[in-house]
């Protein structure tokens, strides 16, 4: 059953990812990306990371992709060339083939026996309370620095998008 869920979400994640880079319309790409993120959220939930799964839907599929769709509609983009552009088709095919070779080599090299043994997670693994406890003790400094980063991003985005500074 669990394996079936994995293959279902995994197949749709892969399918939407590949369709995303193949599609001609940016809007189609963005919507396929949303599908991809929902599938990944499903996999996170299956792995017991419930908070991260909810955040994935809210932050990625909700906020970030809405922003991307907004920009696509704002700029009224329409692409002439799909995946094949001025660059030689041969070069791209060669690149994809090389990448495929590397992936196959990595998968062949992956020694299942050497992967770390599974440990039993705590009862509250992945819950808001458990993550909050770690976040506000061990990761307090990175957490606070994140707020500075977000502030810099807000200021940067406003400056970049403004007509005249």
């Amino acid at each position: 059953m669990q394996l079936l869920i994995f293959y279902g979400f995994g197949f749709f994640a892969l399918f939407s990812g590949i369709a995303m880079i193949m599609s001609r319309q940016p809007v189609t790409s963005a919507l396929l990306m949303v599908v991809n993120m929902f599938c990944l959220a499903g996999l996170y939930a299956q792995l017991g990371a419930h908070l991260i799964a909810v955040l994935q839907v809210m932050v990625y599929a909700g906020a970030i992709m809405v922003l991307v769709l907004f920009v696509i509609m704002f700029l009224n983009l329409r692409e002439k060339a799909g995946i094949v552009s001025k660059h030689g088709v041969m070069m791209q095919a060669l690149g994809i083939a090389a990448l495929g070779f590397v992936i196959t080599a990595i998968i062949a090299k992956l020694d299942m026996a050497k992967l770390p043994a599974a440990k039993a997670p705590a009862a509250d693994f992945g819950s808001v309370a458990a993550i909050g406890r770690v976040l506000f003790t061990d990761y307090l400094l990175p957490f606070e620095i994140t707020s500075v980063l977000l502030l810099a991003a807000i200021v940067g985005a406003v400056v970049l998008a403004k007509r005249k500074v």
């Binding site: 792995l47 552009s85 791209q92 992956l110 599974a118 977000l150």
Partner: protein
């Protein structure tokens, strides 16, 4: 307790997703699609982190993912701001049209 699905399934899926993102970045010319492919790569890495977090019963992987999401949100704001500024100057978001720094 054994994982419901063996770890290497997740690792292989995330490796393939990452590669799809790389192919997208290398082969597309639309800046917005390139941006989305970068997000796809970040997501693939997040999947690896969470799979290992579950395997090891260790929450650190999920905290890393949390931070990656915060950085991705910041990147979205700035990246899309750059794309809008680019469109205003060039009337296109094709990365081949951006050659101001070319000598």
């Amino acid at each position: 307790m054994e994982m419901p699905v063996p770890l290497h399934h997740y690792l292989i899926l995330s490796g393939i997703l990452f590669s799809v993102g790389v192919v997208g970045v290398l082969s597309r010319r639309n800046a917005i699609i390139i941006y989305m492919c970068i997000e796809l790569m970040l997501n693939a890495v997040n999947l690896t982190l969470i799979a290992f977090s579950r395997q090891l019963g260790d929450l650190n992987g999920q905290l890393f993912t949390f931070m990656v999401m915060a950085v991705a949100a910041a990147e979205a704001a700035v990246g899309l701001g750059i794309i809008i500024a680019l469109f205003r100057n060039r009337q296109s978001v094709d990365v081949d049209d951006v050659n101001l720094l070319k000598g």
